[in-house]
Symmetry: C2
Subunit: 99 residues, 2 copies
């Protein structure tokens, strides 16, 4: 079942764009790990927050991807930029009116 | 700029699947209005909640789509099922590590 993860990552003041750059960097193995979609964005109303919307082939694929070298490196690089505020939710995709 | 809307819709007890059915129904004009992605799902931990993850060609395209006959009909049909609890966020997409 397709798995969706949508989230918000709070950054320390002024670190938003640095986090965006880390998240946007191509990650070897990510697509092969089952990542179908990974959109990264911002909202002017929340200047120290980065938003992500992800789709994965399964919850297990998402979980396994966290062990990829490219993911681990990104996490290590991003960690000092984070404020610790996080939000979001995960769900199992049932379908789409577009399909 | 691609626009993302991720949201949670609370339903009255037992009405989740009825709301899912309304959201999954093909909506004439939706794709033409600029809808790029519209995933609908559920999470067993929140049994009276429906999740959506949407991508649109622009915030304006999303706003305009709310006036489509098919959208208006779906909103009217869904309204009695909703608990009034809603959440979510909107953001401007900057890119993806997959592209």
């Amino acid at each position: 079942m397709t798995f969706a993860n949508v989230g918000m990552l709070g950054t320390k003041p002024g670190q938003r764009d640095a986090l965006v750059a880390i998240l946007l960097r191509p990650k070897p193995g990510m697509k092969e790990a089952g990542c179908l979609l990974y959109e990264v964005g911002i909202n002017a109303d929340m200047p120290d927050t980065v938003f992500v919307s992800e789709l994965w082939e399964s919850a297990e694929a998402h979980q396994a991807s966290l062990q990829l070298d490219s993911t681990q490196a990104a996490i290590a690089e991003a960690m000092p930029l984070l404020s610790g505020e996080m939000g979001g939710h995960r769900f199992t995709v049932l379908g789409s009116p577009l399909r």
